[in-house]
Amino acid sequence: MPETLVFYTFSAVAIGASALVIGQRNPMYSVLLLIASFGALSGLYIQLDAPFVAVAQIIIYAGAIMVLFLFVVMLLNAPREDAAEWDRSHPLRHPNVGRFGALLATLLVVQLAWALAKVSELESPVASRADAATVGSVLEMGRVLFTRHTFAFEATSVLILVAMVGAVVLARREGDR
């Protein structure tokens, strides 16, 4: 019973904080609520018997990436984002953008409904399966990551590099060279 209670508490915090990240207009609060959401998620990982994943979540997301986010928000000194002050001719104000967003949202709802319908078909919880040890033990996890999933692991790093190069290209103004 306490486990269920803890699970629902963490879930409520994670969902509520994530909703508020986009629901309120102060970017500083958004960053902090995102951190709260990550913390709640890492609590859920601990409940799944995966302490290493939980701690990695805190170190990487809450400890490193979000500090950078906070840094940028602080340096921009943007107290609030106000839609009324937006440039009317901004490409994101185009009606097609809204239509595309609506399409993506519908797709997400359909996917969620499909996934929830499939939940009852899962044969057993993760903890009772034979390879459950891979989630908990750091040694097993490293071994699996660097043997079976090497390709996915390396592909992810290339993906991050592509994103970084993309960000640099986007951020550089024309005629800066």
């Binding site: 500083m28 902090l32 951190i35 302490p51 290493f52 701690v55 990695a56 805190i58 170190i59 809450a62 400890g63 490193a64 500090v67 950078l68 906070l70 840094f71 602080m74 340096l75 750091v138």
Partner: protein, 341 residues
């Protein structure tokens, strides 16, 4: 109630009590040692030889008026000190401070000294310590004051830069011990080489220890790396606008962080509770002695070494400390791999 649960709760309470008092004791020790180094007495009037001075300080702070600047962010201004002191306390949760003991035969079963024994204990300490930066950054931002903001910005830049070397130094010890659990790291340091030299990792990792200590001082924002609160430039840095209890929580979390840093250094490099003359059951005495020595070094450093310049700090962190820690890690990895093969 279950007896084991009661004992565990007792140990948690004892650890909490020790940490709270550690901050008070460190304030006193700092002022006494500073006085000694500057050839004066330090606090002398409250209690015999001034030992009750921290109590007087705390009472004074409790009865001060709590001020909040008009332009400050109401929620974050209150949240910031709470965050930093919570992170400071929570970081100690997985640090063991003694072997199994029966408390001088009082208990029929031995218990482990330490709040929680987690198999990723070292990473938990690291993760929670890295949360502490939010308290300082938010304090700087929420105060709506330029001095506070600069203090907060400096703190975050400094902590991000030095966290890297800090974690890399830790990784080398993890490789040697082959475990992420702090208790197992300590127990792998039991015994002595040739029956003489203790098997402490400081002898295998002298460079790692130096890197850890330097990065640790920078992480806890202590002199000579106390830029977030550089008086001459920033009034008091991130806590300029704070008063009363909210202010008191910042120095308290700083002192608790110092204690945690020293305790982790003791566990990782100085053999934890292992030492000569004492049976391992009373090893917590050795532990406290070692932590005390490191803390004395901390204070000694503050009152003898002048503050760096900010660009020097960044240059040192990125151009010297980080490469040194990476080289340390690579050499350690190569040697461990060679010896195990």
């Amino acid at each position: 109630m279950d007896l084991r649960l009661a004992i565990q709760l007792g140990i948690i309470g004892l650890t909490f009590f020790m940490l709270i008092n550690a901050s008070a004791l460190l304030v006193l020790a700092e002022r006494k040692i500073m006085g000694f180094m500057q050839q004066r007495f330090g606090p002398y009037l409250v209690g015999p030889h001034g030992v009750l001075q921290p109590l007087a300080d705390i009472l004074k702070l409790l009865f001060k008026e709590e001020l909040r600047p008009k332009g400050a962010d109401k929620w974050l201004f209150t949240l910031a000190p709470i965050l930093s002191v919570t992170a400071a306390f929570a970081a100690f949760a997985t640090v063991p401070w003694g072997a199994e003991t029966t408390f001088f035969g009082l208990l029929d079963q031995p218990v482990k000294l330490g709040v929680a024994d987690v198999n990723v204990g070292l990473l938990v300490v690291f993760a929670v310590t890295s949360m502490g930066v939010y308290g300082i950054v938010l304090a700087g931002w929420a105060s709506n004051s330029k001095y506070s903001l600069f203090g907060g910005l400096r703190a975050s830049a400094q902590m991000i830069s030095y966290e890297l070397s800090y974690a890399t130094a830790l990784a080398a010890v993890i490789m040697l011990a082959g475990s992420l659990s702090l208790r197992e790291v300590v127990d792998s340091q039991a015994g002595a080489w040739f029956g003489l030299l203790p098997r402490w990792y400081i002898f295998l990792q002298p460079l790692g220890f130096i890197i850890y200590v330097i990065a640790g001082v920078a992480e806890t924002n202590r002199a000579p790396f106390d830029f977030p609160e550089a008086e001459q430039e920033l009034v008091a840095g991130y806590n300029t606008e704070y008063s009363s209890v909210r202010f008191a929580l910042f120095p308290q979390s700083e002192y608790i962080n110092m204690a945690t840093m020293s305790a982790v250094a003791t566990d990782l490099y100085l053999g934890g509770w292992h030492g000569p003359f004492l049976p391992v059951e009373y090893g917590w005495i050795w532990f406290l002695v070692k932590v005390g020595i490191i803390l004395f070094g901390y204070i000694w450093m503050r009152w003898t070494v002048p503050r760096y310049r900010y660009d020097q700090l960044m240059q040192f962190g990125w151009k010297w400390l980080f490469p040194a820690s990476v080289i340390n890690l690579i050499v350690t990895a190569a040697v461990v791999l060679y010896l195990n093969a």
